[in-house]
């Protein structure tokens, strides 16, 4: 049907991009993030290698023309490790966020929409995840489940949805009182239809902005876990690199090329996600948008 419909969508998208273009924070975030995504997707293709292979060069070599970021204590190329680590870190960020977004949105909408007992039970459950000290829980879970990358994603996803659920619930509470929901109920729509077709699209901008911030948290979490030695030893993430650097005493020996690059990368990626989060919030939330 609908070339017109498609055109409408196109128009909306265009409007969004026009707004986005004017948002300096958003542009900066998008630029940094796309750089890292491109680098970690194509980097390992351009420099095919096994990042875990040691002895490509001598240990702890400072940056040189053959190894632009030097080597680590086992003689691995840091630049190549960085590229491969970016893949892992970004993947953890994205997948953990998807889990967290799904859990948070579902629980938030169901809780807010049905209210009463459902709300009380689900919200106490949410409070539980909101107040338990995050790090010890993650440590315990990671220790029990083992340190594969999938477990780390799972653990981060399952511990970070509570905030989203709270925000979504409060938004749902206000949306479900809006007259249009009542009108749709008067038409004869059931609860599922109302939640999926009407409440979800209306909370989505909020979820989206909130979720991007969670990606940043997820990447930091992965770094923290790995740094504490609970990372996946078979995959070189930025966190693992920092962990190795710390263990080999790079900081005290002045091997800045070992710990600085992964550190800077984590900071930049997290910053880019945060920038994007704020930018989307500003664009999608008309109350914040300046005329």
């Amino acid at each position: 049907m609908s070339s017109i419909k498609r055109e409408m969508r196109k128009k909306k998208l265009q409007e969004f991009f026009n707004n986005f273009k004017q948002n300096k924070m958003g542009i900066t975030g998008a630029a940094i993030l796309s750089f890292f995504i491109l680098a970690s997707v194509f980097g390992p293709m351009i420099f095919p290698f096994d990042p875990m292979e040691f002895g490509v060069a001598g240990p702890m070599e400072p940056p040189s023309s053959s190894h632009i970021l030097g080597t680590d204590d086992l003689g691995r190329d840091i630049f190549r490790n960085l590229l491969a680590g970016g893949r892992v870190s970004l993947m953890v960020g994205v997948l953990a966020t998807v889990i967290s977004m799904f859990l948070g949105t579902t629980i938030g909408i169901v809780s807010g929409y049905f209210g009463k007992k459902t709300d009380i039970i689900l919200m106490r459950f949410t409070d539980f995840f909101l107040v338990i000290p995050w790090l010890p829980l993650v440590l315990v879970l990671a220790a029990i489940l083992g340190t594969s990358i999938w477990n780390i994603i799972f653990v981060i996803g399952i511990t970070s949805w509570a905030g989203t659920a709270r925000v979504v619930r409060s938004q749902t509470l206000s949306i479900k009182e809006r007259p249009f929901v009542e009108r749709i109920r008067a038409i004869g729509a059931d609860d599922k239809t109302i939640m999926i077709r009407h409440i979800l699209p209306n909370v989505f901008p909020l979820v989206f902005a909130n979720t991007i911030l969670i990606s940043a948290v997820a990447i930091i979490s992965e770094t923290t876990l790995s740094f504490l030695g609970l990372g996946d030893t078979t995959r070189p993430s930025w966190g693992m690199m920092l962990n190795y650097a710390f263990e080999s005493g790079a900081a005290s020996t002045g091997a800045y090329w070992y710990f600085l690059p992964p550190g800077i990368c984590v900071v930049l990626v997290v910053l880019s996600f945060t920038f994007l989060g704020y930018a989307f919030d500003e664009i999608l939330n008309p109350k914040l948008r300046r005329r």
Partner: protein, 337 residues
């Protein structure tokens, strides 16, 4: 098709809500606080008839309208639709009833999903009831409903978002969504009160036209007596959850009996110079429906109230053909005034 065929028959309808109390109050007080929003209402609406429900806010008029459509739970009483009692616990039956009984809401700025295109919003009832198979059919039906609601040509409105329409256009789109299932009965809750005066009459004309052409029955809820007079066949005046007077609309406006109706009439804004009009501005405001006065519920504000009014609740009695009033002044045993 008989003209006087009954569409909706409400019998002894009551709607009560529990007031939410604070946690401590809930523990220490045994008594539940109850709001009697609708407190025993009988109302009949026939085919091709517009009945207006007039009252101030807090009179329970909107709650009554919603209760008839099962949008708020009914505490007591029954609703007959085309002579058949509706069992609100039966989901299938309710769905069938919803199919034939629709609602138009007050605020057209809020009653359409801001994220839905007009075509999707209007077609939604069809999808919920599985009434369309192809996209073509869907589009055709939506265009027809839009044009029946005065948005012509319908094609021009299909792919717009609510915020791209004016207030009047939005209300028409919402009406199209109600019409698409060919209902027999529509509850219209203050459908024009949020619109500019110049747009209002267009919507009223549309509703009247629908009544004529489709023999639709309407319950028209409004706070504006003059609008009620203009559009309806019958007017029911509500005060604190009860109907205090009901009759043909001209009868109510020209020969009102209940002191409350008379007060409402006397302050009704009319675009005329009336510096010396005999206005009966009532003191105070409508009491809280959780504390309904004993006896006649209007006695606290009534200028004619006498002892009996504070003790006995008056019944709705027929004074003249089809003109009912609930006031002790008009009971046979009373010989005053």
């Amino acid at each position: 098709m008989k003209k006087n065929e009954n569409i909706v028959d409400v019998k002894g309808l009551k709607v009560q809500f529990d007031i939410k109390q604070s946690f401590l109050q809930e523990i220490f007080t045994k008594k539940r606080k109850i709001v009697k929003a609708v407190d025993g209402v009988d109302l009949k609406i026939n085919k091709g008839e517009i009945v207006s429900l007039v009252g101030e806010s807090g009179s329970g008029k909107t709650t009554l309208g919603k209760a008839i459509l099962d949008l708020v739970p009914v505490t007591e009483g029954e609703i007959l639709f085309k002579g058949k009692k509706i069992d609100f616990s039966n989901k299938k039956e309710v769905k069938k009833f919803r199919h034939k009984a629709q609602m138009i809401f007050q605020d057209p700025y809020q009653s359409l999903d801001p994220k839905s295109l007009v075509i999707d919003a209007v077609a939604e009832p069809l999808e919920i009831n599985n009434l369309v198979k192809t996209a073509e059919e869907r589009k055709e039906k939506v265009i027809k409903a839009l044009e029946d609601s005065g948005l012509a040509p319908g094609e021009n409105f299909l792919y717009r978002f609510p915020y791209e329409l004016s207030g009047g256009q939005r209300q028409r789109a919402a009406i199209a969504g109600s019409l698409i299932l060919n209902p027999d009965f529509i509850v219209a809750d203050e459908p024009v009160s949020m619109l500019d005066v110049s747009v209002r009459t267009g919507i009223l004309k549309l509703l009247l036209g629908l009544k004529e052409s489709r023999d639709l029955a309407f319950l028209f809820i409004t706070h504006d007596l003059s609008l009620a007079w203009l559009i309806s066949d019958k007017i029911a005046i509500m005060y604190l959850g009860k109907i205090v007077e009901i009759g043909e609309s001209d009868e109510i406006i020209k020969k009102s009996l209940h002191p409350y109706t008379q007060a409402l009439l006397s302050i009704m804004p009319i675009p005329e110079v009336h510096k010396n009009r005999n206005r009966k501005v009532l003191e105070g405001e409508i009491p809280n429906p959780s504390e309904i006065p004993k006896g006649c519920r209007f006695n606290t504000r009534c200028v004619h109230a006498f002892d009996k009014c504070k003790e006995v609740e008056p019944k709705l009695i027929e004074i003249k053909d089809g003109h009912f009033v609930a006031c002790h002044l008009f009971e046979e045993e009373y010989n005053g005034i």
